[in-house]
């Protein structure tokens, strides 16, 4: 009730007062895992994006819940936001489907829900982020082309059963299937843990000494490359890479044969910008209807390879080693999606 009144009040104010007067939105950000720096950067960028709106005369207040929680714990995040009466919730969800009931509740309360980084099945929510399948397909394509469509490849994946992981597997599988001479000899899981990725690579090298390519995701790529270097195979094997500054520096220094699709931590900032426009009542040019759940708005995926890695490295200069190469929709870029 309170919220509806507030919304109503705001609508009245928007009509009565010239646009120069500050609009005010509260947006809740929920993150259910703090195990990696990527997530921290994601929150920070979203907070910075909210600040930027001040210049436009919009007061975007951000409330954050970021902690290691299980699925019920993150559902509680959403319920807490609902209780607080936020205008919008942006979530990096721990599960694709678990939030259906709670999102429908949020929608009943007139709260806009956007998920980012991982898609959700709820039709009451919107996904703003990259297409994880395409993300994997891009780097797989790079790998296949680098190998000239021929060779033995191994894949190191994240957490088995995790939706993003499965989408990525689908992505690279569909690409490699187009190249009959590329053989995926083994797929292992290293749980998105860099050290485990390093160990997995090491074991794979022992078992398949003559592999030509490695498809590996995120931080595990840094680990895999480390094992390749230790085994003296960095020059012979092509492998996908990742986007943290540490790795980019290493890449430039050792001239790896690598390519990396960027999953930018800025996705949440992009989602936030989209959210503010939607809260202002703007309509998307094309309704978000992509993806398996038909509720996704996919953002462009930057790609780093031998050609542009030096530029990327320059951009990252002065950042901490765990800082990920990022990109996000600026307010103006986001506006371009709207009518």
């Amino acid at each position: 009730m309170k919220l509806k009144n507030a919304l109503l009040g705001m609508a009245v104010m928007a009509l009565a007062i010239p646009a120069a007067q500050a609009e005010e939105f509260t947006i809740g950000l929920s993150n259910g895992w703090v195990g990696s720096e990527w997530r921290t950067q994601m929150i920070e960028e979203a907070q910075a994006a909210a600040e930027k709106w001040k210049e436009k005369g919009v007061d975007v207040k951000v409330v954050v819940q970021s902690a290691n929680v299980d699925v019920p714990g993150q559902i509680a995040h959403v319920r807490n936001f609902i209780n607080q009466g936020v205008n919008a919730i942006i979530i990096n969800p721990n599960s694709p489907t678990a939030f259906d009931p709670v999102f429908s509740q949020a929608k009943e309360d007139g709260i806009l829900v956007i998920s980012t980084d991982a898609e959700v099945s709820s039709q009451d929510a919107l996904y703003v982020g990259i297409d994880q399948t395409n993300w994997a397909a891009l780097s797989a394509k790079w790998l296949a082309e680098t190998l000239k469509g021929k060779g033995q490849v191994v894949a190191i994946n994240g957490v088995a059963g995790h939706p993003a992981n499965e989408m990525r597997i689908a992505g690279y599988t569909s690409v490699f299937n187009q190249y009959p001479d590329i053989k995926v000899v083994n797929e292992v899981n290293a749980n998105w843990d860099q050290a485990q990725g390093q160990q997995a690579m090491q074991n794979l090298l022992a078992t398949y000494p003559d592999i030509d390519g490695v498809w590996v995701q995120d931080g595990m790529a840094a680990g895999a490359w480390r094992s390749l270097m230790d085994a003296g195979k960095a020059g012979q094997v092509a492998a996908t890479g990742e986007i943290r500054k540490d790795f980019i520096d290493l890449w430039v220094k050792n001239d790896f044969n690598s390519g990396a699709s960027v999953n930018p931590p800025g996705v949440m900032a992009s989602a936030l910008n989209v959210a503010v426009f939607m809260l202002q009542g703007r309509e998307l040019k094309e309704p978000a209807a992509a993806g398996q759940y038909k509720n996704a708005l996919y953002l462009p995926i930057p790609f780093i390879n031998g050609d542009n890695v030096a530029t990327v490295a320059k951009e990252l200069e002065g950042k901490p080693g765990f800082y990920s190469y990022t990109s996000s929709l600026s307010i103006d870029e986001a506006e371009a999606y709207f009518k």
């Binding site: 703090v34 290691n68 083994n186 860099q194 050290a195 022992a206 230790d230 540490d246 290493l250």
Partner: protein, 330 residues
Amino acid sequence: MTIMQPTNPQDSRSSIIVYFKNPLLVAFILIVLLLIAGETLSPGFASMEQILRLLIVAALLGIVAAGQNLVILGGREGIDLSVGGVVSLSAVLAGNVMDGNNANIIAAILVCLAAGGLVGLINGVGVTIFGIPPLVMTLGMLGVLQGLLVVIRQGIPSGLAAPALANFVSKPFLLNLPGILWLWIAVGLLMAFLLMRTSLGYKIYAIGSNENAAYMAGVPVKRVRVMLFALSSMFAALAGICILGYAGTSFANVGDSYMLSSIIAVVLGGTPLSGGKGGYTGTMAGAFLLILMQSILTTLSIGESGRQVVFGITLLFLLLFYGRSKALRG
């Protein structure tokens, strides 16, 4: 309540079984069997280089397990679930202090050991002075450490290992063995010396076997136990530094997998969770055994669900050999 009798009908039958009750021997037999199995499944698996690389990984786990081993030996349900958090904390702290510069290695080691020691001290005080069960205390501490990591990472630059550290961990150092293995051997010798040739070792076994009797014999039970927790965290911190060298960079979830695997390494090494008996030599074998098992599973192309099922069953099978409690009926 029994009397010694040098000869009895049982002597002849038990000799082989006695050997099989020696966990160290069982571990070594299993290691050899697994190596053979690995080599059969994928030729090249049991090559010298691969074994060396596995040993490096086992060393990282083994150093964490050294501390875990001490806490478990000290009895009274001693267990340290916070080691994973300490490993992460130490790797991140070390990375920040080192900042990729060899000159900062000593400072980084000191900072990490101090931080680890402090965490262990708090664990120990919680367990001994406040009487919180170790499982609860260290579980709570794990949550605190995870939070601390997020705070520490706010705006602090870098996190790169110093080149010397990275070389020490993975490049041959002496006699073609990487430094980390020498470190592990040193830790092994230190632990053996500590447990078998110092009064502290005697005291650890004493409080693990019968805490009250040890107390009545003047053993400073609380002080020793606090020391065990402090040592445990310091070993975890040391491992954290090494893992930084292994991975080259620090990252927040680096220690997560060490929590339960360090406990399993100790148990596979023949130290029962009830404490008071066992030792570190077994734990070293246990750590290698565990890494070897995981490594063989990685190379099997049976899908993750299959791997987990096989791993779970294998682990259960191995545990049949180790530290099973005595039957209630004597």
